[in-house]
Structure formats: structure tokens, C-alpha cells
């Protein structure tokens, strides 16, 4: 009896210890994931800001401004349009009137409530040519804005525009709602931005840092964080953005804990991360982004105006090879302007030419190609554009197409891209969530002149809000690209962002913009 009692007590004690350990472990685990307020999060950028005014655009500026300013609507992770300062909206059946119902109690950093009058001012300010908003032309369908009441504003359009929301949700520049009195106090362009975001601006020391601090009265939206919409919880007291132009130095700064996270983690250090840095408290996140890389053809230039020549190039280029050369596998091959994460993507967008040198050579003969050397323009400011150009040159050479790399400066690349002054150009662009905007670049290489049907298709897509119809129209747009090869879409490259392991809640977005809301430090 005594022995049996002893065993029972022993078992009971063991059970108690096990339960205690379980409870403690659970508590520790929960504590690690329980957000903490406080601290300063420092994010390393690869370049400094150029402006604090949202109308200036620029991805780097937008990265910071996203924490200070908010738009009416924004893109979610699946590129759906979600409410931000607008709680809901209504579109008239003819798509000529949009009514936005604003959330109440949203405060600007100067303490004043954001109301419908601010929306009217902000949009009119964007539309004003003097403001020099880099995407002003997108607002061409707006005729006037009407303040219905304190929290309701109507957009009256001069033509049906089912896709106004994509304009209002544009990622860069952010189409923010701003207080008139602050803009005018600062001479019409922000040098000290004031918005409704979770963080307010403190100071910008050019080439040193930008400092923001938590805006205490800010109330996160009730919806969960989703892309650039949803709840924005400011756990950290302050966030700091530090430009570190040299990428190897940025990794050193991360290892030294001088920064807590990096906007870009260099691909060339991925192996080093796996072997070494991951053991030193560095965490790298990777996600396929929406930024796209492509080879453009001048559709009005000698040789490249010939569709058969362009088709020959398409048969010659192995997209996998080029993606590997430029991004060492950290990219998703995609022959379509529509990225795979976009809800408009369908398997039809995967239709493309499989590498076939015999077919390429046959088409070159039919095109009358006699071995002329064609300049292949590229630049070294964005290394991947150069790498893909080198790879494409080799691919074309194998098919008998002679090219000569013409490396120019980035401003020259931009100018030539804008004016269509090239025969073949290696290029890339930031995320463009709406495919109409992406395909619209084809006006620049004169493809619309050569194949007017493409413009008709895009105009139809711009004038319908029917998702099914739009999807079909984008499939048609891709088919036109496939048949006529105005460009060779190569891949969407991955975003690699790095952080220290004590940085919690930090999630990479496929839109490419880091979000320091919802992030806390556990150290």
C-alpha cells in the first residue's frame, strides 16, 4: 500500500512539473509574439529621399510617406482595392459619378479632423498643373468634386471611368488626403508632411536620416492589415529611415545592429546568409514582387519594326536563362505584363514562345535579316537590367542575331524609353497594379501605331468595371503581345528584405513597400 502511494505521489509530482513547464513554455511563446510598445525601428534604405512632397512621386519617398499619409483607398495583397480613409463608396451605373463616404474621427497630425472638404482640396491640388504631380494625367476623367456633407464627397467625371479607384489607389505617388492649411503654409509643397497616418514627421536630415514618431491619437482601422490597407498599428515610438547607398555596407550595418532592417537584401549575399548570417540573428524574407523586367523593341525602327524579326527574337530568348542570369533564380518567369499574383492573371498569360533556334533562323530569313549589328541599349544603374541585357545578347547570338551592348546612363535610358529612341532596350519598371497602366507603356515604342487594335482593347478595359470582361480583355491584350512581340516580358523579380531576429511582425509586401506599422522590437 505504502509503495503504491509513493508511486502515485511521484507520478502526481511529475505531472505537476510537466504542466508547469508547459504553462511556462506557452507563456514564453506568447510573450515572444505579444507586441510591445516602444523603441526605435531603423530601416536602411539604398538611397536618400528626394522630396517630402507626395506629388513628387519616387518609390523611396513613398516608402517614408506611406507612414505619414493615407489615401482614400489602397491596394491589398491580391491587388484588390480596399477602403482606407473612405469607408465605402458608390459608383453610378454610367460610371460618371463616384460617391465616397468617409470614415469619421480621422485626425490630421495637426489635430484637426479630416473631412470631405480636405478630399476635395487634395484631389484638386493633385490635378493642378502647378503642383507637378507626376501622375496628374491619370485624373483626366475628373470634371469636378462636390462636398455633399461633412463626410461625403462626390466625384463628377467628364466621361465614364470605371477604374477611377485604381487611380486613387496608385502606389507611387501616394494620392494622399492632406490638410489645405498645412500645404499652403509650406508654399504649396510639403517640406514637413502632415497627414492622417500612424506616424508623424519629425525631421529629415538629408543623406543622414528621416525620423518619424508615433501619432498618439491615431486609431488603427478595424480591418486587418492587408497590403497598404487595413490596420496600421504603431508599436514603435519612432521609426528612422537611414540611406546606405553601398549595399555591402548596408549588410554590415545590419550585422552590427546599427539598423534593424534593410529595404533590399543583396542577392549576391543570399548564400552567405544561409551559411553564416542566419546564425547571427539575421532573417531574410523573400516574396515574388510585381516589379517587372523586359526587353523592348522599337516598333518604328529598322529591323525591329518587322514582326517576323521580333518573333525570331522571342524564339531565341530563353526566359529562364535570362532570369537566372539577372537574379540568380530569385525571380519568377512571366511572359505577361500581368503578374501572376494579380487577380486578372489566367493561364492564357503563360502562352509564349518556347526556345527554338531553328524557327528563329527561319523567321530571320523571312524577315530579310542579313546579320546587321543592332544596338541593345542598357544601363548599369540597375544591375539587373545590365545582366539581363548580357544574357539576351548571348541568346540572340545563338540564333544568329548580332547585337552590340550600348551602355548609357539612367537619365539617357529614361529619355530614350520615353521617346521610343531605341531598337532593342533592356528595361524594368516598378509594380503597376492595374494592367491597363502597364500595357499603356506600349504607346511609347509606337506599338499602338503599328497595331491599333491594342489601344482599342485597352480603352475598352479602361471603360469597364466588370472584372470578367476586364480579364478577357487582358487575355486579348496578351494575345496581341504574343502575336506581335512588341516586347519580351521576362520575369517579375523577388523582393528580398532583411531584418534582425528581434524585429517582430515585419512582413514583406508584394507591392514592394515596407510597412513599419504592425512591427515591434522584442529585445
Amino acid at each position: 500500500m505504502k509503495a503504491r502511494n509513493g508511486i502515485s505521489r511521484f507520478l502526481a509530482a511529475g505531472l505537476a512539473v510537466a504542466v508547469a513547464v508547459l504553462i511556462l513554455g506557452l507563456a514564453a511563446g506568447l510573450a515572444a509574439e505579444t507586441p510591445k510598445r516602444g523603441g526605435v525601428i531603423t530601416l536602411g534604405l539604398n538611397t536618400d529621399l528626394t522630396s517630402l512632397d507626395p506629388n513628387a512621386g519616387g518609390a523611396i519617398n513613398t516608402i517614408v510617406l506611406n507612414h505619414i499619409l493615407e489615401p482614400l483607398v489602397a491596394y491589398g495583397e491580391k491587388l484588390e482595392i480596399l477602403p482606407v480613409l473612405a469607408e465605402r463608396w458608390e459608383m453610378s451605373p454610367d460610371y460618371k459619378t463616384y460617391t465616397f463616404f468617409l470614415r469619421q474621427g480621422r485626425l490630421f497630425h495637426n489635430g484637426r479632423e479630416m473631412v470631405a472638404e480636405d478630399v476635395k482640396y487634395s484631389i484638386e491640388h493633385i490635378m493642378d498643373p502647378k503642383t507637378k504631380n507626376t501622375r496628374r494625367s491619370l485624373f483626366g476623367s475628373i470634371d469636378r468634386l462636390e462636398v455633399v456633407d461633412k463626410y461625403t464627397v462626390k466625384f463628377h467625371l467628364n466621361k465614364p471611368d470605371p477604374n477611377l479607384l485604381t487611380v486613387l489607389a496608385y502606389t507611387s505617388p501616394v494620392m494622399a488626403i492632406v490638410p489645405k492649411e498645412e500645404v499652403e503654409k509650406q508654399g504649396g509643397a510639403f517640406t514637413h508632411p502632415v497627414g492622417t497616418g500612424p506616424y508623424k514627421f519629425v525631421e529629415w536630415k538629408p543623406d543622414r536620416y528621416v525620423l518619424l514618431e508615433r501619432f498618439e491619437p491615431y486609431k488603427p482601422l478595424p480591418e486587418p492589415m492587408n497590403g497598404l490597407a487595413g490596420a496600421r498599428v504603431a508599436w514603435a515610438d519612432q521609426v528612422r529611415f537611414v540611406p546606405i547607398p553601398e549595399e555591402s555596407v548596408s549588410v554590415m550595418a545590419l550585422l552590427n545592429k546599427e539598423v534593424d532592417a534593410l529595404l533590399y537584401y543583396p542577392i549576391k549575399y543570399v548564400d552567405k546568409y544561409k551559411e553564416d548570417y542566419s546564425k547571427k540573428g539575421v532573417v531574410v524574407q523573400e516574396i515574388t514582387g510585381l516589379s517587372w523586367a523586359e526587353i523592348w523593341f522599337g516598333c518604328d525602327k529598322p529591323l525591329t519594326s518587322n514582326v517576323k524579326f521580333r518573333q525570331a527574337c522571342a524564339y531565341a530568348i530563353d526566359l529562364e536563362v535570362v532570369a537566372k542570369a539577372a537574379f540568380q533564380g530569385h525571380a519568377q518567369v512571366n511572359p505577361s505584363v500581368v503578374p501572376k499574383q494579380n487577380h486578372y492573371w489566367t493561364p492564357a498569360h503563360d502562352t509564349w514562345y518556347k526556345k527554338d533556334l531553328a524557327k528563329a533562323k527561319q523567321l530571320l530569313k523571312e524577315a530579310g535579316y542579313k546579320g546587321e549589328t543592332i544596338p541593345l541599349q542598357t544601363n548599369k544603374k540597375y544591375n539587373y537590367m545590365y545582366q539581363q541585357a548580357v544574357a539576351v545578347q548571348a541568346e540572340l547570338k545563338a540564333a544568329g542575331i548580332n547585337t552590340e551592348l550600348e551602355v548609357v546612363e539612367w537619365p539617357v535610358t529614361l529619355k530614350n524609353f520615353y521617346k521610343g529612341e531605341y531598337q532593342i532596350l533592356s528595361f524594368g519598371a516598378s509594380a503597376i497594379p492595374d494592367p491597363v497602366s502597364g500595357y499603356s507603356y506600349l504607346r511609347l515604342n509606337h506599338f499602338f501605331d503599328q497595331v491599333p487594335k491594342m489601344k482599342e482593347v485597352l480603352d475598352q478595359a479602361a471603360q469597364t468595371a466588370d472584372e470578367g470582361k476586364r480579364s478577357k480583355l487582358f487575355e486579348e491584350a496578351h494575345k496581341l503581345c504574343y502575336e506581335n512581340v512588341p516586347l519580351v516580358m521576362l520575369y517579375n523579380y523577388n523582393y528580398l528584405q532583411a531584418q534582425r531576429d528581434y524585429v517582430k511582425g515585419y512582413k514583406v509586401s508584394n507591392l514592394g513597400f515596407p510597412r513599419l506599422w504592425g512591427v515591434w522590437l522584442d529585445k
Binding site: 507637378k132 553601398e246 555596407v249 550595418a253 552590427n256 529614361l414 529619355k415 520615353y418
Partner: protein, 314 residues
Amino acid sequence: MIRYLARRLVYLVPTLLLVAFLVFFLIHLIPGDPAVVMMGPDASPEDLASVRQALGLDQPLWRQFALWMGSLLKGDFGVSIHTRRPVFQSIKERFPVTITLTTLALVFSLLISLPSGVLAAAYHNTQKDYLFMLGTILGVSIPGFWLGLMALLVFSVHLGLFPSTGFVPLWDDFWEGLRFMVLPSITLGVYMAAVVARMTRSSMLEVLRLEYVTHARAKGLSEWKVLTKHALKNAFAPTLTTIGLQYGMLLGGAVVTETVFSLPGLGKYLVTSIYMRDYPVVQGCILFIALVYVLINLAVDLFYSYFDPRVSYQ
């Protein structure tokens, strides 16, 4: 001396005018459209035309030059196309960083180059001399970019002695600021140290051959006194010219060091502005650097007579 100084200051005007003319027309000759860089390829032709008009870029070049010169005469360097901030304000913020970096680099290089150059000359054709020559060859050959990265790897990442990035002004917190400047100053100063050391050695070798030096030794003076009191002062004059030229070059050439160490200096700002085709910034910065360079050389020329009394400014 005063007349000489006045004459040199007067010569400053045509020099700067020539620099202004050259920089204005050269930067405008480089292909690239500031409006497209600013607005991006999505901008409509109307928006681009509007921006060009607002920035005065649609005017004939000669008129743009005249307007710019007119503003300069009023002390207005213009406004940055991209940041819309006054150019002079940006120069005021960044120049102290560059001058701090180059001055600390100068101090470091002189601390190394002068003693080593003197000793190399004193131990001419010995092992010490050969080691010195090897050191200077390495000094002028090693790229500053690589040297900076190696310095960061060793002293910042592995030893944790210095930060890898950032800047604190010396005038805000001297010791903390110095911590941020040690590695960049050494990186920038190595090349200058090598050049100045070689110049010092050559000058010393020439002077040490002169009869008065033999006389000084024969008098029984210590070798230290012979080298420092008698020889170095006379040998220093050409070295001073080299130092002046190098210091001036460092002002414009610190861009690599500023980029590696993420310093908010004038050199990096200038190069970035060239890429962005920010004409007012490029013009303003180059003009400012030219002015400083000319003033440094003027100071060097004025000091020259102290080391070489044969030079007169009458």
C-alpha cells in the same frame, strides 16, 4: 603682399566666370532630360512640357545662362529641380561634412607622411627606405573603395570598434563625431599620405645633399636637429604645394569615401545630382568647389614665402 593678395582675388573673378561657363554648357550638353527623370516615363507630353517651362528649360541656352548668372550675382544659387530646396542651403549643410572629412584625412596623412618621408630620406637606400617605397606604392595603388570596405569589415564588423555607417557632426558631439570619422578619414588619407610622403622624401634627398647640411653635421648638431630644423624647413616648400593640390582634389574626390561610409557630403551630392540631371545643383556645387580650390591654392601660395624666403610677393 597686400597687393599680391588683392591681385589674386581679382584674378578669382575671371577664373570663376570661366568655370561657370564651362560647367553650365557641359552639363547641358550631356544627354538626358531632367523633366523625364523628375516625372518618370508615365508623364504625359503636356506635363513634361509644363515642367520644362516651369524650370526654364524651354528657354534658349544662352538665356538660361544669363538668368543663372544674374541670380548668382545676387547670391542665389538656384533651387534643386528634384528636392526644390535652395542649392546654397544644401551646400551649406554638406560642405562642413566634406571639409571635416578632408581636413581629418589631411591631418592623418601629414602625421604619417612627414615623419616617414623624412626618415626614408635619412635612411636612403636602406631596408627602411625600401619598405617605405613599398608602402607608398601600395598607398597610391589601393583603390579607396576597397580599402574602405576592408576597413569596415575588420574594424567595424569583426572588431566592433567603429560604426559602419552614419555621421554625427563634430560640433554637436566631438568624441562621438570623431568615432564616425576615423575610418573614413584614414581611408581618404592613405592616398594623400603616400603622395605627400614621396614628395617629402624627394625634397629631403635634394636638400640633404646641399653643403649647408654637411656644414650643420660638421658643427656637431644632432641628426634630429639637422633633419627637422635645417633640412625639413627648406624641403617643405614643394611639399606644401603638393599638399595644397591634394587637399583641393580631395574636396571633389571624396565622393567614393562618402558613398562607402554613407556620409552626407558634398561630393556624393554632386555625383547624385549629375545622374539626376539636377542642373542647378551641379552648377552650384562645381562653382563652389572651384572657389574653395582656388582659395586653398591662394593660401598655399601665401604660406610658401615662409618656407622659401626667396619667394617675394612684391
